[in-house]
């Protein structure tokens, strides 16, 4: 069966989503176990696949038994093996953590919610595993459509925010599709490896340049890279906590994976870094993204919205790191995909717990939370330290690689931007910790209580245990960074990049 892991990790969640949709009409309590089983098998296959890749190198899986480039094929190498594990594990943990809040927020629509959730994960896993440029577009649309649906159910302003996301997301996906069309016209192929084989003779063609630019802009729209980020904060803030803690850690990271895949496999680093002279301006854009993300985050008085601006800054980290054009920067960018997915998940799960208990996430709602929800807030501190970049949490190590890459490339502005955003993060998180630790708890949602010292009112265990697993993972991934880099990421980057 291990031969079939690449198929299983997409097919099992897909079948699970279909069964959930039917089971929702029979018995709502069936939905959750089926979803866990589906994503559990997917996570198991992803881990098994990564182990096989470590043993055997690149795995090619031919769908329908057709040889590429006739049919569609999967190419699993170290890069997407790693991202697959991250996506499936993050989705599974969040699924378990958000069980209670889903039951609270969508009491009568549990079936469709879990169906969309699992479909979205299917889409994201499919994007990561596929080796076909057009197939990537189809899966991108699955992940996006389900994402619009999940984000639109939430607070009052959620539908409008989701509709704006839909406009921007569709433009992004269409640009990508158009880029693939340009590539198809001049190469006649849709298979990424095949395109990369044909392209070298066409490097000077204006069509390749057009395809490259339009694909990049499309992907940037989807990942909310700075000037194109306007849709993200509202869409993520007003969504339900289960949906935002799935989408916030994964979607932007998967899109960064797509960008790196386009650079490394489709257009080849030779073209992207040496023939086109665009690295410099893109790194500068990343610098602006980081600085603006940090400044906008400073202006927020609302925890969830503040986190969304931090995501925008983190996107700047990864885009900048990937475009530094050297091995260390690329390592930092790939490592940061892993770390940032975990950090964002940790912080959004904390927000989910707070929303579940306090029913709000503005700064005023956080007063006295350390006494009320000590376990949740401890995990928050771990996540915050990791985002700031304090050793031994994993955030430190990827930032270290990014900064070393910036120094090696001689791009000091990027280094300064990274340090600046770390400083801003210190301010942001210590401001929250101060409010939550020192100010007394004020309960303006339930007035009937006597004024006793606040009782411990922790989130339920099903929410706490996944949260603590993620918080522990932040430290464990930090400690084992060396192994991850030497055994996995090392092989994910082609030899050509020094």
């Amino acid at each position: 069966m291990s031969q079939q892991y690449p198929a299983l990790l997409v097919v099992v969640p897909l079948l699970a989503a279909l069964v959930i949709c039917g089971a929702g009409w029979v018995n709502k309590r069936l939905c959750f176990p089926i979803a866990v089983a589906g994503l559990g098998v997917a996570a198991y296959s992803c881990i098994g696949l990564l182990l096989r890749v470590l043993d055997e190198g690149v795995i090619v899986y031919k769908l329908g038994g057709w040889d590429p480039p006739m049919g569609i094929a999967y190419y699993v190498d170290h890069l997407n093996g790693l991202v697959l594990v991250v996506v499936s594990v993050v989705a599974l943990l969040n699924l378990i953590a958000s069980k209670k809040s889903v039951a609270q927020e969508f009491p009568d629509k549990i079936g469709p919610f879990y169906a969309l959730y699992v479909l979205m994960v299917t889409g994201l896993l499919g994007i990561v595993v596929t080796g076909d440029a057009f197939n990537l577009y189809v899966l991108l649309e699955i992940a996006s459509l389900t994402g619009y649906g999940l984000l639109a159910m939430g607070e009052d302003r959620a539908p409008l925010a989701a509709l704006n996301y839909l406009y921007m997301g569709t433009i992004g996906a269409c640009f990508y599709l158009l880029g693939v069309g340009y590539l198809y016209i001049i190469t006649g192929s849709l298979n990424m490896v095949d395109i990369a084989r044909i392209l070298p003779s066409l490097y000077q063609s204006k069509a390749v340049l057009g395809a490259f630019m339009i694909c990049m802009v499309g992907v940037w729209l989807k990942m909310a890279f700075f000037p194109l980020h306007a849709w993200l904060p509202n869409a993520y803030t007003y969504a339900s906590s289960a949906a935002s803690s799935l989408i916030a850690p994964l979607v932007t990271k998967v899109m960064i994976y797509v960008m790196i895949r386009l650079i490394l496999t489709v257009f080849t680093p030779e073209f992207a870094f040496n023939i086109l002279a665009v690295s410099e301006p893109i790194v500068w854009l990343a610098v602006i993204a980081i600085v603006m993300g940090a400044i906008l985050a400073l202006g927020e008085r609302n925890l969830k919205k503040m986190l969304t601006y931090i995501i925008i800054a983190e996107v700047g980290y990864m885009v900048g790191g990937a475009w530094l054009g050297n091995r260390v920067g690329m390592t930092g960018a790939i490592l940061h995909i892993v770390n940032d997915a975990l950090m964002t998940l940790c912080l959004f799960l904390v927000v989910g717990n707070i929303v579940h208990k306090v029913k709000g996430y503005a700064f005023e709602d956080l007063k006295g939370l350390f006494r009320k929800m000590p376990f949740t807030m401890c995990a928050f501190v771990v996540g915050a330290l990791s985002i700031i970049g304090v050793p031994p949490t994993c955030g430190f190590f990827s930032k270290w690689y990014l900064i070393s890459g910036a120094i090696q490339a001689g791009h000091y502005a990027f280094m300064v931007a990274l340090l600046f955003s770390s400083l801003v993060n210190v301010v942001l998180f210590f401001r929250i910790i101060e409010i939550a630790f020192f100010e007394p708890f004020t309960d303006h949602h339930a007035h009937g209580h006597d004024h006793q010292p606040e009782p411990i009112d922790e989130a339920p265990l099903t929410m706490l245990v996944p949260l603590w697993i993620v918080a522990a993972a932040l430290v464990i991934v930090g400690i084992y960074t060396g192994d991850i880099v030497n055994n996995i990421i090392q092989f994910a980057i082609p030899e050509g990049i020094i």
């Binding site: 949709c21 329908g64 057709w66 699955i142 389900t146 158009l178 339009i214």
Partner: protein
Amino acid sequence: MKIIGLIIAVLTGALLIYGTVDFPEWADPASPASTHLSPHFIEKTMEETSVPNIVTAVLADYRGYDTMFETTVIFAAGVVCFFLLRILKKEGPRQRLYRHALTGMTIRIRDGEKRPSVLDEFERIDTMWTPYDVIIKTVCRLLIPFIQLFALYVIAHGHHSPGGGFQGGVILGASIILLAISQDLRTAIKRMSEKVDAILSPAGVFIYAGTGALCLLLGGNFLDYSALASILHVDPVTARSHGILIVEIGVGVAVMATLIWIYNNVSSAGKYDEGL
């Protein structure tokens, strides 16, 4: 905003047109798109899949994986529309309106008042006057069976002529939507209830993905229909042709049910009353 939009559109357009300069000539038989992959499809499809319609063969076999997700996309859209719009809590209406089918007279029953026991000749409506037209109703009623027959032909004949699961499914869905437009949504829902839509729509995708998974269990790769040869008792090439037919049926079912589902939810804003 207008000026920004104009600037963006002009810049993007300029970049795209700049990119077209190096394109091969339009309809050039020697262009890469026509010489790299497509000759294989055109020349080998018949011997590899035994399907004369190359588009069908490429759609459901060579690139069958794309098509599975194409079906999944539309299924996802159906679930999203249901998830966003459907109002499941029943609000008791303050009044109910009924129209006498023969005379066109409308009666109103206020909330709490006793309903007459004989309501057979009346149909429920939602506004004081809902347009209705005997000619439209009758013509549509006559047309719908033929439309559905044609849809089945399109699905079944997709191997030999333009057509296939998606096209046939759309026509099937359109026939029910035509019923909903010409009569009202309640009549259409009586014919095809919400639950049927919601079960058929994943079931169609399940037929597709399940066929693929069956191939996997029979020892082939995912969606490798030639693995079905052992249970269909035919040679692998014919098995591919049969496999294509099975998944096309799945696509047809899924597309039909999902389109009706989307129409029901969007046209009545999730209330499932008389709709448009």
